[in-house]
């Protein structure tokens, strides 16, 4: 997002602050061809958003412009946080328009320049943004060809385009560039029909691996994140935080801190903050505040939370049902009844939540690390009681999100403090605050009762998930009697479920659901005395899943076990997320003396439809695998009576270089199928694949994540 560069280059004609509605800003831009289009996100998020706002823009929510220099810009409220869409979306545009990649610019996450967008999450950008973006580009190309046809007096079907220049196929000297065609014109088109988009065989840029467009800025230290913004007179704020969730401020003594020179002290109802021109000095000043908080009323901790879940579960939602569970149970020779547990996990991006707010007249501008700038805009407007058109959120590069940067508390703090001090203010979380205010991946329970017939077919499947949500809860096995129910509403839970905020974490809920389902399948395979690979091949109903599993098996070099467990330390897991199919096989070593698990090798096959940028997709898979080791093996938020006990990385272990397994990925060649999600799917299978591999190695079964050395030792000792 080179917003600022862009502003300098092309937006000189706009007087800031400018107050315009979505439609108006197009008038403010210079000449060129504009294609306005709507991204039809179809997941539940849209409906949620619709309910919350009471409306959805129906006209358009993204547009692209081919300006008078032939430069192509795409304006979208999506943001770049490492997932690489700044590159993959640009690739799509370049290909459909027949221009070079470096003539495309993505203007992202700026609420004044870009039309409304609900936020960047759910592996949706490529899936749902891709097709209409390509269609808009194809439409633009059609318009440009028509213009060229008029100008050159040559019918459209005799023309072709290369690198932004339209030419006559039979005489290449007869040509006109996009820049010449748009000069002095202002053409606005709404994408309505479905123009022909390119066939994969025609791709020149898409479906090819290229270096990220943001790489150079990022390796030179020039890339700007929210915390890198600098303004004259800017103050860094440190805010007084409660020691525990649910603790209330009773008394505060600011006399000491008020004696300090150059420190600005703010007390505004619940907000107590100290500010200084240096962040570290402000932090020292914060220590001088004497504050008394009430104790949190929460009695919950890591152990009693599961009991609490069962008490507050309420009524379930039936996700799917077929056949008759009781009938199925009667036909069973073996019944497996298991409960699986998952823990709270932190997002922990290395860039903590940060925001810089600046107020000029009645215009509030905030540079923020956020995944949903348009939500932040409404939140700031609400907190400052100003009209939302007076608020502008600009999203520079975001230093990792993983679903965690959808809560914008720091943005509101910064905006309030900017108003109270009359100066630009930065609020940047410390690592301790980042742990405290994270909306964690929720802890959850899954109970599964399932059975096998005497001929080792799955007779029934009774699945009850508590607070993990629906994503990945259903199965893809051939089971005549099956029920899937979920209790509690996904990642947020109902009120009083969780003692602190919870939220979407990379592939929300699916890590928990896949851990439970694929562990259960493995237990049944072991009960049947069948190799877990064979057992899956025999019982999987979904053909796409069978195909990826076979590809993974081939890559891994799977040879049937003569006994289960085999002692080799091999584990398999399959799953579906964001439309993509994943099959994973891992090999582990377990030290039975200290309980340490070393994952030596991970093979992952993925069917994600058309991979726009295969290299980018591979990188996302590798990232999922490495990150997934954490939730599977070590990451667990510890808490007691509302207090978060993890204050820094000495008590919360992220995956490290020394954990790096041999990673082998395969993306199935499906270029004629629509693109599916790529940023999340490969993370869902780590827990079950590793748990199953530990079983295969030592014959012990872990039903709780993370599978820490302590938990492994406990089971070994019991055995």
């Amino acid at each position: 997002m080179k917003n600022d560069n862009y502003l300098e280059m092309d937006f000189k004609d706009i007087k800031t602050p400018f107050e315009v509605d979505r439609r108006e800003f197009i008038k403010l831009l210079g000449g060129g061809l504009f294609i306005l289009f709507t991204v039809g996100d179809t997941l539940g998020y849209v409906q949620q958003e619709q309910r919350r706002r009471g409306e959805l823009p129906t006209d358009f929510n993204a547009f692209l412009r081919i300006d008078e220099k032939g430069k192509v810009s795409c304006f979208t409220g999506k943001i770049e946080m490492g997932q690489g869409i700044i590159t993959s979306l640009a690739q799509m545009l370049a290909d459909e328009l027949d221009v070079t990649l470096d003539s495309v610019q993505m203007i992202m996450g700026d609420t004044d320049l870009c039309p409304w967008d609900m936020g960047t999450f759910g592996s949706m950008s490529t899936r749902f943004f891709g097709p209409p973006l390509r269609a808009a580009a194809a439409e633009a190309r059609n318009v440009l060809l028509e213009l060229a046809s008029e100008q050159l007096k040559i019918p459209v079907d005799k023309l072709s385009v290369r690198q932004g220049v339209v030419y006559q196929k039979s005489n290449k000297k007869n040509k006109v560039s996009y820049a010449e065609l748009t000069k002095g014109k202002k053409i606005e088109r709404h994408l309505k029909g479905k123009p022909r988009i390119k066939d994969p065989s025609e791709f020149k840029v898409m479906n090819k691996s290229i270096t990220r467009v943001d790489a150079i800025e990022k390796v030179t230290g020039k890339a700007k994140f929210a915390g890198d913004m600098r303004f004259p007179d800017m103050l860094y704020a440190k805010v007084l935080r409660p020691p525990a969730h649910g603790a209330k401020l009773i008394d505060v003594d600011l006399s000491e801190v008020k004696k300090m020179s150059d420190i600005v002290v703010i007390q505004d109802s619940d907000l107590v903050a100290v500010l200084h021109k240096y962040p570290d000095v402000a932090e020292k000043a914060l220590e001088k505040i004497k504050a008394k908080f009430s104790l949190s009323e929460s009695k919950l901790n890591n152990e009693n939370i599961y009991e609490h879940f069962m008490e507050v579960a309420g009524d379930p939602k039936v996700v799917s049902h077929n056949g008759d569970i009781n009938q199925g149970e009667k036909q069973s020779a073996t019944v497996v009844d298991e409960t699986y547990y998952d823990s709270y996990v932190a997002h922990s991006p290395i860039e903590p939540h940060t925001a810089v707010a600046k107020i000029d007249g009645n215009k509030v501008t905030v540079w923020a690390s956020t995944q949903n700038p348009f939500t932040a805009k409404e939140e700031v407007a609400g907190a400052l009681k100003v009209a939302s058109e007076n608020v502008r959120i600009i999203t520079p590069y975001v230093g990792g999100g993983f679903g965690g940067k959808t809560r914008n508390l720091q943005i509101v703090d910064a905006a309030r403090l900017a108003k109270l001090t009359g100066k630009p203010v930065m609020v940047a979380y410390t690592r301790k605050e980042e742990f405290f205010y994270d909306a964690f991946h929720p802890a959850a329970i899954v109970k599964i009762r399932s059975g096998l017939t005497s001929s080792n077919e799955i007779s029934f499947w009774d699945y009850n998930g508590y607070f993990a949500g629906e994503r990945g809860a259903t199965h893809f096995y051939n089971i005549p009697n099956s029920s899937t129910k979920v209790f509690g509403s996904g990642w947020t839970g109902s009120a009083n479920t969780h003692p602190f905020a919870t939220g979407p974490w990379r592939a929300p809920g699916n890590n928990t659901n896949t851990f439970a389902r694929e562990s259960q399948i493995d237990i049944m395979a072991a009960k049947a005395g069948v190799d877990p690979f064979e057992f899956r091949l025999k019982n999987i109903a979904d053909k796409k899943m069978l195909e990826v599993l076979k590809v993974a098996g081939e890559k891994f070099g799977w040879k049937s076990f003569s006994k289960n467990p085999s002692g080799k330390g091999y584990g398999i897991a399959c799953g579906i997320d964001a439309g993509s199919y994943v099959a994973m096989i891992v090999e582990v070593d377990v030290n039975s003396k200290d309980g340490n698990v070393k994952v030596n090798r991970v093979v992952c096959a993925q069917n994600m439809g058309l991979a726009i940028n295969p290299e980018g997709a591979t990188i996302q898979m590798e990232g999922c695998i490495m990150m997934g080791l954490g939730y599977a093996l070590t990451e667990e938020v510890k808490f007691r009576s509302g207090e978060i006990l993890n204050k820094n990385y000495d008590s919360y272990e992220l995956p490290k270089f020394s954990w790096l397994p041999k990673i082998e990925t395969v993306i199935l060649n499906k270029k004629n199928e629509p693109p599916q999600g790529g940023g999340e799917p490969a993370i869902i299978t780590l827990g079950a694949a590793i748990g199953n591999a530990i079983y295969d190695k030592l014959g012990i079964r872990l039903n709780r994540m993370p599978m820490t050395p302590e938990r492994i030792l406990q089971i070994i000792i019991k055995k």
């Binding site: 800025e217 390796v219 990188i619 790096l660």
Partner: protein, 155 residues
Amino acid sequence: MSELIEFKLNGKAVKVNVDSERMLLWVLRTDFGLTGTKYGCGEGFCGACTVLINNKAERSCSIAVKSVKGKEVLTIEGLMNNGKLHPLQKAFAEKDALQCGYCTPGMIMNAYGLLKKKSKLTYDEIIKEMDDNFCRCSAHKRIVEAIQTASNEMK
């Protein structure tokens, strides 16, 4: 107490009048406006703030500015030579050894410190020496490959 601290920063002699107990990270990011060096944890666990002090990789969040008096400090901004990317920077970009890019300066500086100690690195040496630099996007595999590439190029 404020004190005049003189040192060499990215090859140039600099002086700054600050409280000498302040951490180098914040002096770099505020007084010098060098924002390439990042805050990640503030206690030396994550390595996002890594810079070179007298050719040795150090955690700038945990080093008081007074201790760099008379020394040479190198940040990510000083790594390019005559407008040319350092082999490590080139390799990180070409090998896609980054995603969000926030930990990247610290990764590159730590690797640079490593290459200063020993130009030819084995895979195991890279793993061992990079172990305390965290990347949440989990680009570890590519980072190791990039360091290997740069190491080979510098032989």
